[in-house]
């Protein structure tokens, strides 16, 4: 019942967090703390790569929701990547995210980021 989180800056203004293990009532503060730190950088996109995440409870969903709320104030976006079936199921029940913010591959995400980039620069 552990959670570990790695983070990296994917490109300018795009950060990626990869939680691994169980994101539940006991472990959510680990992710929350990392999210808070990244939010100080005011990223325009925050990617949660869920590939290594086995379990998420409502407290875990809430961390993501909190990030989304914080970023909404300056039009930042939360994006989810690689949802395992049991994680997808939780988000489906809660209907937590608009589908355009969920990507199943890194390629889809890159295309999305490219489009965003063009909107910003173009």
């Amino acid at each position: 019942m552990n959670l570990s989180v790695t983070s990296k800056q994917k490109m300018d203004g795009v950060y990626m967090l990869s939680p691994s293990g169980r994101l539940d009532t006991s472990t959510f503060p680990i992710l929350e703390e990392r999210v808070d730190r990244i939010l100080q950088e005011k990223p325009h996109t925050l990617v949660f790569d869920m590939e290594m995440l086995d379990y998420i409870s409502s407290m875990g969903v809430r961390v993501i929701a909190k990030a989304q709320k914080a970023m909404k104030s300056y039009n930042g976006k939360v994006v989810l990547l690689n949802l395992q079936p049991q994680i997808q199921k939780v988000f489906d029940i809660i209907k937590a995210l608009p589908s355009q913010q969920v990507f199943s591959t890194m390629g889809e995400l890159d295309d999305y980021l490219d489009r965003m980039q063009r909107q910003v620069t173009g």
């Binding site: 009532t25 409502s58 809430r62 929701a65 909404k72 209907k95």
Partner: protein
């Protein structure tokens, strides 16, 4: 001078002529000589004699050949003919396979057939009686080969004593060192009085004896022989009929040259004609007799086969064959199958109660096959069952049965047995393996382990053998597979064995099935492997699955938890354990765990309204195909199901906090009920796992 010259030329001419003469007379033909009276043989004065010799002497004189005989056994002679050491072999029996190597004359010297001879005072009852008896024969002899093949078809297997010539065959029969001997009928007729042996009614393989040369050599010799034989046969007065007359009567008489008694010519011709007619009638009669004998033999074989079918029926009835075997007992399920290779075999299995809670299971394989093995099997099986009820422990049971059988077992038939006693309350299996291959323990997931302990000697060989036993624990839904070596040694067309490895692989694919389905799966896998090849050995399989009667308490648990979210790890352990006991799919475990976390954390964080320690009781139970979790707490009366669920179309970040967890739980479980009873909040959650 002129006269001298002339006479010189005359001498030269004479010399040349004589030289030609010498070369013609000197075409040397080496003839293989083997003792095949009266066709060809050496008598006590070392004279070469016989029908073929008479003919060859006559023809050699006509053709100017120089015949030399080279003695050897029949096998040596054929080999020498093939390699060119000898040129000609008289009296070779024609057969298709020999025609590859040899060229046979077109004209038959004499017709012959194989005859089984017995001692003059012996009684002959039935060809079946020759099973396991000694029968003498000449190695490589065509009659012997035929006899062996035909007996093989009837599954009669005498021990053949192979000697170099027919003389030794009859000698052995006379001395009663063998029960019977195979010689050609002409040889037998000639010598039966001298050796004091007599014909049995068994005769077989009528054969034309002819001259033979190696293929591709001496074709001119064979042509000359054919030409002469044909001429001789056309003339009833010829040396051919004289010779036949002289050698086939069994009496050696001196025939005076016929031309010395011209008055007899007519009489002799008539006699020979008569002889031919009588011979013909005799032959026909013989053929008819033999056909009758063969019919009788076949009828007897059919009778035996129908009796064997009845024996098989009886044998199979000895084995418990009604499945389900004990439907009222929920602790185990059992299935067995025995496929005999021949009509009756030596495999067996058995299972029975020793007392209310002890099930005895047995599998065994008696050495040998057929009726004797089946009788031994019936005895062993009965003895084991009778002894098991008295002695209870596998090592005592088998030691006792071994003592009993070994003391009176002159044939040294032995039987391999695996015997186990399963305590249906605890799942403890105590077993002894007496010379049997290690049997298989089957885990819940189809994993197999060889039960290799307590390997003891097979039963029946020595009454002093010691037996030990070992114990293995069967847990809920674990099982056993007992089998005989006919299973692992089932062969396909390429003579490959099915192997224990394939058996274990097949079993590994049968996790969670009933014993019957498991046995059927293995049998169909073996059938696929062996293809059209019939079974070489009995094949027996017995599968057992154990269901612990204590799993009700395993699948039912009450735990007292503190109001601390860290108690979740204990809850997850408990859910996983109970889910595993009933083979819940992982997705069910996930859903139940998540729903539980949502409800439990709700109680921990909001249920009591203080920072004090409280107890929360969790009760887990399997009911039918549902997992039921009940949480009880003595906190503030609170029905989480009444929490207004945040509007789902609202953005995530704006939803009501507690509502999200409740939504998850409600959607993940099949049913949730809240009630307040005696000052307690009681939350019942139900999830079907099938």
């Amino acid at each position: 001078m002129e006269i001298r010259t002339r006479s010189f030329f005359l001498l030269l001419l004479l010399g040349l002529l004589s030289a030609i003469d010498v070369s013609a007379a000197g075409q040397r033909i080496i003839v293989g000589l083997h003792d095949n009276t009266p066709l060809i043989f050496t008598d006590s004065d070392s004279q070469v004699k016989g029908i073929a010799v008479d003919l060859l002497t006559y023809i050699a004189r006509k053709e100017g050949w120089d015949i030399q005989y080279f003695q050897g056994s029949y096998a040596q002679c054929t080999q020498r003919l093939e390699t060119g050491v000898i040129d000609l072999l008289p009296g070779m029996a024609m057969s298709a396979q020999l025609e590859d190597k040899f060229t046979f004359g077109k004209e038959t010297i004499v017709a012959n057939w194989g005859q089984l001879y017995i001692a003059s005072d012996a009684t002959f009852s039935d060809i079946l009686d020759f099973h396991d008896k000694d029968v003498a024969a000449v190695e490589g002899d065509v009659y012997f080969q035929f006899f062996e093949t035909i007996l093989e078809k009837f599954e009669i297997r005498p021990r053949f004593i192979l000697v170099d010539d027919y003389r030794q065959v009859l000698k052995l029969v006379h001395q009663k060192k063998v029960s019977a001997g195979i010689v050609p009928r002409l040889y037998g007729v000639y010598y039966e009085k001298r050796f004091r042996v007599r014909q049995s009614p068994i005769s077989f393989r009528p054969t034309d004896l002819r001259f033979a040369v190696a293929r591709g050599r001496n074709a001119s010799v064979i042509r000359a022989l054919d030409r002469h034989l044909k001429q001789l046969k056309e003339n009833p007065n010829s040396i051919f009929y004289q010779s036949l007359d002289r050698w086939t009567q069994g009496v050696r008489k001196v025939t005076l040259p016929l031309w010395l008694r011209p008055l007899w010519v007519l009489g002799i011709i008539a006699g020979i004609m008569g002889l031919i007619i009588v011979g013909n009638v005799f032959l026909r009669k013989q053929v008819k007799l033999r056909t009758e004998a063969l019919k009788t033999t076949i009828a007897e074989k059919e009778k035996i086969e129908s009796e064997l079918a009845v024996a098989r029926e009886i044998q199979l009835q000895l084995l418990p064959g009604n499945f389900p075997a004990a439907p009222s007992r929920k602790e185990f399920d059992i299935y067995a199958s025995l496929e005999p290779a021949r009509e009756v075999g030596g495999d067996f299995y058995d299972f029975f109660f020793i007392d209310r809670n002890s099930l005895c299971i047995v599998i065994g394989d008696v050495s040998g096959k057929g009726v004797p093995a089946a009788l031994f099997m019936a005895m062993t099986k009965t003895m084991i069952k009778a002894t098991a009820r008295l002695l209870v422990e596998p090592e005592y049971i088998l030691a006792d049965v071994n003592r009993e059988i070994s003391r009176n077992n002159p044939s040294l038939t032995f039987v391999t047995v695996f015997l186990g006693v399963l305590d249906l309350n605890t799942g403890n299996l105590t077993y002894t393996c007496a010379g049997h291959n290690p049997q298989l323990f089957i885990g819940q997931k189809g994993n197999t382990v060889l039960l290799g302990d307590a390997q003891c000697p097979a039963i029946g060989l020595d009454d002093a053998f010691q037996y030990r036993q070992a114990t293995v624990q069967l847990r809920h839904k674990e099982g056993l597979l007992l089998y005989t070596d006919g299973v692992t040694e089932a062969q396909n067309d390429k003579n490959r064995l099915f192997t224990q490895e394939s058996l274990m692989n097949t079993v590994s694919l049968t996790a969670g099935v009933t014993p019957k389905e498991r046995v059927m799966a293995i049998l169909s896998q073996i059938r696929e492997f062996t293809g059209s090849r019939p079974l070489d050995d009995d094949m027996t399989l017995l599968a057992l699955s154990y269901f612990s009667p204590n799993r009700v308490s395993e699948a039912h648990q009450t735990m007292v938890l503190r109001n601390d979210i860290r108690e979740m790890s204990r809850i997850i352990d408990a859910i996983t354990r109970i889910a595993d006991s009933v083979d819940c799919p992982p997705v069910v475990v996930h859903d139940v765990t998540l729903a539980m976390e949502e409800i439990f954390s709700n109680i921990v964080f909001y249920g009591f309204g203080d920072d004090l320690d409280h107890n929360i009781t969790l009760h887990l139970v399997i009911e039918g195909d549902a997992l039921i979790l009940t949480l009880q707490d003595e906190g503030i009366p609170f029905n989480p199901l009444n929490v207004r669920i945040g509007r789902r179309d609202k953005p995530l970040e704006e939803r009501d906090k507690g509502g999200m967890g409740i939504t998850l739980a409600k959607n993940l479980m099949d049913q949730m009920e809240y009630r307040r009873e005696r000052g307690k909040n009681i939350m019942r959650m139900e999830k079907r796992y099938r």
